[in-house]
Amino acid sequence: MDELEKLRELYGEPRPDPVLKARVRQALDAEAGRPRLRFTKGITGVLAATATVVTVVAVAVVVTGATTAEPEQVVSPGVTTTVSGRSILLAAAVTAEAGPENDGAYWHVSKLNRRTYPETFGAEGDRYRVAESQLTEQWVTEDGEVWVGTRSLGTRPASETDKKAWRRDGSPTEWRVPGGTLSTEPGRGHLETVPDGTAFSMAGRKMTLEQIRGLPTDPVSLREQVAELVRDAPGGSLDGVVADALSGLLWSKPSPPKVRAAAYRALADLPEVRYLGEAEDEQGRAGAAFSFTLQTAGSSRLPATVRRTLVIDPVTSQVLSSTVTGRPGTGDDQVEVVLDAGWTTEKPAVPALP
């Protein structure tokens, strides 16, 4: 690999910020001053585009989700969260409300990521993709100290079909990709402190522990405040972004039980949040799947519209997995399986192999 490739790999991709474009547009409108010079396209265009995507996605989901969704839940994109989906979220809210308050020194999230690489391997006409699993753990103290632990669990053919092509390719155990070599073997683990200690963010904006704790416990106020935090889009809120920010409060942030409960209730009332039916996460744990689409700033390599699918355990109110799906068919999905999210007394350590 040449040095320009290495350089691109070093820089990586900036994180998508779904509302950034609208925010900059608004700033430009304000600066340009005169009404004739408005850059603003109007929110209706964006929402119409989103609606189109939802229609397409609802069809795709039936294939990939393998759920037991009732027919009326998927055939009519106009109909949003169904009664049963809504009741699942409301039930989860009740459980969440009874959850434990902070009872440890460290907020700890442990998750398994699976990433399918866009590169294909094997013989011409018989190509396959590979997916790497990685364990990522995060610890945050009350004082805002942050540690991140990572460990590769190894790379495998991405699907059963890919596996067959991989066997025909002679079952190699290593693959070259931009940035390095992938191996079927697990890697060594790493534990690093994150120097400037930014642990939490919402739609690309930093959040402190105090801000998270100060969020409203009433669903309507919470929704409004989150919309305020994430939105600069003129004319209305981008509900997909609000849904995304609310779903982050369910597991990736140390939200107090009442805030988590409010987040569940707010999600139950969002028209974008679609109930897909019963589903299993990657670990085979049973739950209920919900999804919504959201716009991102986009770039040459990141799609402008992505879909987030959450599988939650209605009994414990825990989020089991969170999947981001890009353009259908590219195979470039990002799966996060939440192994643990809560307060602990155990000190940060290099992630152990499961």
């Binding site: 350089l7 900036p14 070599t181 930014t198 939490f200 700033a297 996060e336």
Partner: protein, 199 residues
Amino acid sequence: MTSISWAVRPGSPEAVPHSLDEAEGFSAIFDAHFAEIHRYVAQRLGDDVAEDIVAETFLTAFRKRSRYDPSRAGVRAWLYGIATNLVGRQRRGEVRTLRALGRHGLDPDAPGHEERVAARVSAESLRPSLAAAVAELHQRDRDVLLLVALADLSHEEVAAALGIPYGTVGSRLSRARRKLRAILGETNPMLDPEETRRG
């Protein structure tokens, strides 16, 4: 909102340069190039600063649109030139960003984080020295290097964007690449312990 009429996108991209002085034309330019200009600036300066710099880039372009000369540079190269000039005023910010990229450089809670972590599987050990080498380059060499590597501009476009002769692009680029190769050559990724253990 009064702006619903904007839902109709004016003209094809080719027509854009001729309508620069109309707000519709400029709105189309913003739509067409926002994502890539933002990506480039965010890569060089980090997400926090990028927002302001990108806004300033388009605002500068909007204000200078009457001085834009389509025979000299494409709109894309012209915007990259403005952005690069603004990035150049943030030298300390760029060095800080590079240090963070070399070290870790990630908001652990941010979406996309895992993607970046996964992509640097075995290149881990090279990151700090590569980032340091980029930070040590002359600003003018770094601008050329990154316009080629990150923005994927051709030599002609880089020359137009920065207002320098074509030949100068080549000499700056090869000087920068030579310095990076020297760093990368010192640490062969194949000798990384994690790699040999697998062998």
